[in-house]
Amino acid sequence: MSDTDEVADAGFDDWLDAAETGDAYCLECANGHGSLPPRRVCPDCGSTDLEEVDLPETGEIETFTITHVPTPAFEEDAPYATAIANFGPVRITGQVVGVDPETVETGLEVALAVTVSETTGERVIGFQPVSA
């Protein structure tokens, strides 16, 4: 991991803080393009007028994988399921938690749940299936 020191990544760590308290957001421009922080310019249209907008409570898994060969930062976590979930204005990549990875499938409804790496103790974006 590049974040080996105590210095936070402004924008990203703030977002994790918000997600931990159930206040996750994304950025949206006047044209309705969603994006993730830290960001000053809309990557779709160049607008610099970006506003924080609440993320919907749940998203839907669009694709997933079960990783058996991890980077060293997730050595103790493997095997784990990583998924891309659609939350409307943005898609997010996260680890599916609280269920057997083998039961993860496309279309599954998930809520954001910040978790921690078993290997490093660092915070990790997690997805909790809402039916579980």
């Binding site: 994006s35 694709t63 997933f64 994988t65 990783t67 060969v69 980077t71 891309i84 943005v90 680890q95």
Partner: protein
């Protein structure tokens, strides 16, 4: 637009040589390229060099001048970094530089030392081609990112692991006579399906190996090739580059690579050809699914149908469009910074009739190379043609 001749090509063997430094690898490739070209080192006006993970693998930045020195060239040198498309980027900029008339002779190539990092270290190093904050910190690995694309492809277009296995089998078969290849070893579909999973649905045999190696090209203007009577029948006649959002989750479609489509369309237009003119292709098959996405992006297979190309024999050595006759990244190996220029080297040899697999494409006049960085946030496509 003036063509750029491939005057000489040089490749090290790709494979595991953990103790060899990047400078030693590139020196070997450059010696071979100079010998092949007959061009004196003194005539080289600049070195364009691709490398991705030199800081992590060798604690070495600023590799341009280091590699010029290793090659025995006294000329300005620049390193290009576009993840696994690093030397594809170097080739593209070299082509443009020669076309403007600013230079007549350039040494172009790349090198990567990877196996000294071990599997975990190389996995970590490769992962930095993804978005660190929003992908890597969620546990995305490189195989993981391509696995996400493979699963998305299966869900949208169909196909399965067995279809992908045929791509691995084909590329291993193609590598058999290629002495530069990391794996000169035939495999069967069952080997691929029974291999340990890396990131499901991709297994060990869906993935290219971790490799050390280097590639070098001596590129010249048409005028220089004519003035010095060079034996250089193959030219780079088209170049194109495409870009996309960095993170896979920000792509419009999770199972397509529009950056490669953009690069292909630009390169075809530049060369004045269309996809139907292409006789042979070298594409960036870092994972089996990547070959599928490449063929569809390059308009060599319809969207949603590339998955069956190897299985149905369309892209095998004796198929209508042989793909990755070198063995591809899958079997030839993938020292990432060397790959883009190595594809151009392999294609030039295939078209010139000097490649061990040239007999499969004896009448071919037009080839395409496709080099991708990250999950195809960068794509470099080149068209090569026999012009003399």
């Amino acid at each position: 637009m003036a063509n750029v001749r491939v005057a000489g090509t040089g490749l090290t063997a790709f494979g595991a040589s953990p103790e060899r430094t990047g400078r030693d690898l590139f020196a070997e490739a450059s010696i071979a390229a100079f010998e092949d070209s007959g061009v004196p080192r003194d005539d080289v006006e600049a070195v364009f060099y691709g490398n991705f993970m030199g800081e992590l693998a060798e604690h070495q930045g600023h590799q341009g001048p280091l590699m010029a020195e290793a090659a025995g060239v006294q000329a300005p040198a620049t390193r290009f970094e576009s993840a696994c498309a690093s030397s594809g980027a170097a080739v593209r900029e070299a082509v443009k530089r020669i076309r403007t008339g600013e230079n007549d002779v350039l040494l172009v190539g790349g090198a990567e030392r990877m196996t000294n990092l071990g599997t975990a270290g190389a996995t970590e190093a490769l992962a930095i081609a993804a978005d660190d904050l929003w992908e890597v910190r969620a546990g995305t690995t490189f195989p993981g990112a391509y696995a996400l694309m493979a699963q998305a492809y299966f869900d949208v277009f169909g196909g399965d692991q067995e279809d992908l296995a045929h791509i691995a089998v084909k590329n291993h078969e193609n590598a058999l006579p290629n002495e530069k290849a990391q794996y000169q070893r035939a495999i069967e579909v069952s080997d691929v399906l029974e291999a340990p999973p890396v990131s499901e649905p991709l297994g060990l045999y869906d993935a290219c190996p971790i490799s050390d190696g280097a590639s070098a090209l001596v590129l010249t203007s048409e005028d220089y090739a004519a003035d010095y009577g060079l034996e250089a029948p193959v030219a780079i006649t088209g170049t194109g580059q495409g870009g996309d959002r960095m993170a896979l989750h920000d792509r419009e479609h999770l199972a397509r690579s529009p950056a490669a489509r953009e690069a292909g369309e630009e390169a075809y237009a530049d060369a004045g050809i269309d996809a139907g003119d292409i006789d042979v292709a070298e594409v960036h098959d870092c994972f089996t699914i990547a070959e599928v996405l490449a063929l569809e992006a390059l308009d060599l297979e319809p969207i949603g149908e590339g998955i069956s190309a190897a299985r149905d024999g369309r892209t095998t050595a004796d198929g209508e469009l042989p793909v990755n006759l070198s063995g591809g990244l899958k079997a030839k190996g993938h020292p990432v910074g060397a790959t883009g220029a190595s594809q151009v080297a392999e294609m030039a040899m295939l078209l010139a009739g000097t490649h061990p697999n040239s007999d499969h494409v004896a009448d071919a006049t037009t080839g395409v190379t496709h080099n991708a960085g990250g999950t195809v946030a960068s794509a470099m496509v080149h068209v090569l043609e026999v012009v003399a």
